[in-house]
């Protein structure tokens, strides 16, 4: 009996972000009857698609023990490339951004892995580098695609009534979850973040694992760039900047530790949804826009405090067992 209650406590503590989502949703449902409608949820999730996809990629890098701040510029670059290629060829507009994302990710990866530069500062540098390059190449103006054809459908089409970006987000979340929990690469990513010497000692090429993580993140950002481009039609070079805080917030809120080796991609998805629900809630409750930022910040700090608390409780529960 005691064992069951302990198990239950462990389950709740290790999925605290899910509890946050449930509590928030219940509160919202009580406060607004518009909240639990299919249209509203489709709206919430649809807005989340781009930052949600990017957050999955960034979370992978953070779990591997690094960080990548250049995703905002990478996103804008991939979206701009998609917008530019889209009138020429549909398939090119799909492959191009993915290739660009992978290349930029590999660039970051080489800096961090091969040259051993600190990931925080060097990706801050590449954030500016990519953005500056994008500005210089585009001349600072909007890269205009056209708003028709199959490319337009990526962000605006529906499959069985569900908007395509939502399906893409869920698909990528499932794929990355599968990667991290069921494959050896995923296991190595966690091992690299936790103790890369141990991974190296076990005979695994740890540098290759780390580099692959950066490239993988680039690919995922490439997908987000395609969705963004398809939604906007025209892309400004600064388009990615507004996702910077949201994505970092989602990743850190989900319990992914900056020390590496800890976190779950499923929780990253949930954390993104939590942020979306907060945004949506403030709209539904007609909170004045000028107060929204303040509330978001406070919720973020509270959630981090709560997360730290549950992690500590969980560790205590575990250690007392041995």
């Amino acid at each position: 009996m005691k064992d069951v209650s302990k198990r239950l406590a462990q389950l709740c503590l290790s999925h605290s972000i899910v509890a946050v989502l449930i509590l928030l949703s219940v509160a919202m449902a009580l406060l607004s009857d518009k909240f639990f409608t299919a249209a509203n949820w489709a709206n919430v999730l649809n807005n989340l698609a781009v930052p949600g996809i990017v957050a999955l990629g960034v979370a992978l890098v953070v779990i591997a023990g690094g960080i990548d701040l250049s995703f905002s510029s990478m996103l804008a670059a991939c979206a701009a490339l998609a917008a530019w290629l889209q009138p020429q060829n549909f398939w090119l507009a799909l492959i191009g951004p993915l290739a660009l994302g992978a290349a930029l990710g590999a660039f970051n990866g080489l800096l961090v892995v091969k040259l051993g530069a600190n990931p925080l500062i060097s990706t801050l540098g590449t954030q500016w580098l990519f953005l500056a390059a994008l500005f210089i190449i585009t001349g600072g103006g909007i890269v205009q695609g056209n708003m028709e054809g199959p490319f337009h459908l990526i962000a605006n089409g529906r499959l069985a009534g569900v908007p395509l970006p939502i399906l893409l987000l869920l698909l990528l979340a499932a794929a990355t979850s599968f990667l991290t929990t069921q494959t050896s690469l995923g296991k190595y990513i966690y091992a690299h973040g936790s103790n890369n010497c141990g991974l190296r000692f076990a005979g695994v090429n740890a540098n290759a694992v780390y580099l692959k993580t950066f490239v993988l993140m680039g690919l995922i950002v490439g997908v987000a760039g395609i969705v963004l481009s398809s939604r906007l039609g025209g892309v400004r070079p600064t388009e990615g900047n507004r996702y910077l805080i949201v994505v970092l917030t989602a990743v850190l809120l989900s319990g992914v530790s900056l020390n590496g080796g800890v976190g779950s991609l499923f929780h990253v998805l949930i954390a993104t949804v939590v942020l979306g629900v907060i945004d949506n809630g403030m709209v539904l409750l007609a909170v004045e826009y000028k107060y929204q930022q303040m509330i978001k910040g406070c919720v973020f700090i509270l959630a981090i405090l709560y997360n730290n608390y549950t992690t500590k409780q969980l560790a205590m529960l575990r250690v007392s067992k041995r």
């Binding site: 060097s122 580098l129 600072g140 970092l248 850190l252 700090i301």
Partner: protein, 337 residues
């Protein structure tokens, strides 16, 4: 005695070298760059970023950051303007600087007492401070045309405008504190080995909160000066400032892992930043080349830093091995002689 190689010399002197090279380049391109007005202008422009940077240097030496300085700058400016409009200029200035100290205190408590990583906690407070500024101003710029408020940043001394004087005096005070007092020693010690400091009974949390307060107060002082110079404050400004400042501090020689670095280096990096900004105006190049240059410089220095550190480590390892092998020999001679 570590051997000073040409490479380490090149690395230590990188900022003067780069600044010298840029000045030389300008000397061939546009002599009018060197008129005193422009040089003073560069200094004056740099003093806002400079105040932020010298304030955060202590914090980064003790191995923390503050990403919220940009929002702090904005919010304290807003508070100073609004209080000045109601209660007079002096009250406004005081309230502005005090609010920054409080923001620093909040950051410090979140990091030192609630044990949140400073990258995460100040990311959160950055959003909050900007949100408060939004709420206070209704997202519109607020103006203050009290002459006394504006006079804070308008006087001159020996031809140097007030912001430069403020910046230099704060920099000198902090430099002295860092070099000669317990304030600086504790920062280096905490950045070097925090657990060791705890074991020695140093009030680690107290010091760290103090560094956050210093950082916050400097940022808000910069915010008040900026508001006074513009005669207005706006909540929609200063998002990227903190990253530029952190990058400048790293360029100035404070490693992200803390425990080392000096203020003159940071000031050099800030001057370099101002110089690059001004050059792009003079050379009439597209503004984003300046960011490109800055990014390449940052990446270059970080990579070079790592390469040097690796060499140094290999040298130290071999030296340690030599020392260990020599040691028993020395002991032995003592015994037999």
């Amino acid at each position: 005695m570590p051997k000073v190689t040409f490479q380490t010399l090149l690395f230590r002197g990188r900022l003067p070298l780069i600044i010298g090279a840029l000045l030389l380049f300008m000397a061939f391109n546009d002599r009018s760059f060197f008129i005193p007005e422009n040089l003073i202008n560069i200094l004056s422009y740099s003093s806002i970023n400079g105040l932020l940077a010298v304030g955060m240097t202590l914090l980064m030496i003790s191995r923390e950051f503050d990403i919220s300085v940009g929002s702090n700058l904005v919010l304290s400016g807003v508070i100073a303007v609004q209080v000045a409009n109601h209660f007079g200029a002096a009250a406004g200035i005081a309230a502005g600087v005090a609010s920054g100290a409080v923001m620093g205190l909040i950051n410090g408590i979140l990091v030192a007492k609630a044990n949140i990583n400073s990258f995460i906690s100040t990311l959160g407070t950055m959003v909050i401070f900007q949100g408060v500024a939004f709420a206070l101003t209704d997202m519109k710029p607020v103006a203050c045309d009290l002459p006394t408020f504006q006079s804070l940043a308008e006087w001159e001394l020996l031809g140097l405008p007030a912001p430069i004087i403020y910046f230099l005096s704060v920099a000198i005070i902090l430099w002295l504190a860092l070099k000669f007092t317990r304030v600086g020693k504790s920062a280096y010690a905490i950045g070097g080995n925090i657990q060791g400091c705890r074991n020695l009974g140093i009030n680690v949390d107290g010091w760290r909160i103090g560094y956050f307060i210093i950082c916050g107060a400097c940022a808000s002082f910069a915010g008040v000066i900026l508001a006074s110079r513009l005669g207005a404050a706006s909540a929609t400004f200063g998002e990227n400032v903190s990253m530029v400042v952190i990058a400048a501090i790293v360029l100035g020689g404070v490693p992200l892992s803390g425990g080392a670095g000096s203020l003159p280096g940071v000031i050099g990096a800030i001057l370099l930043l101002g110089l690059i900004d001004s050059m792009t105006v003079y050379l009439n190049v597209f503004g984003y080349y300046q960011k490109l240059f800055w990014a390449l410089l940052l990446i270059g220095v970080v990579v070079f830093d790592v390469v040097c550190a690796r060499r140094e480590n290999r040298r130290l390892e071999l030296a340690e091995l030599l020392r260990l092998q020599r040691e028993p020999l020395r002991d032995n001679t003592e015994v037999t002689s």
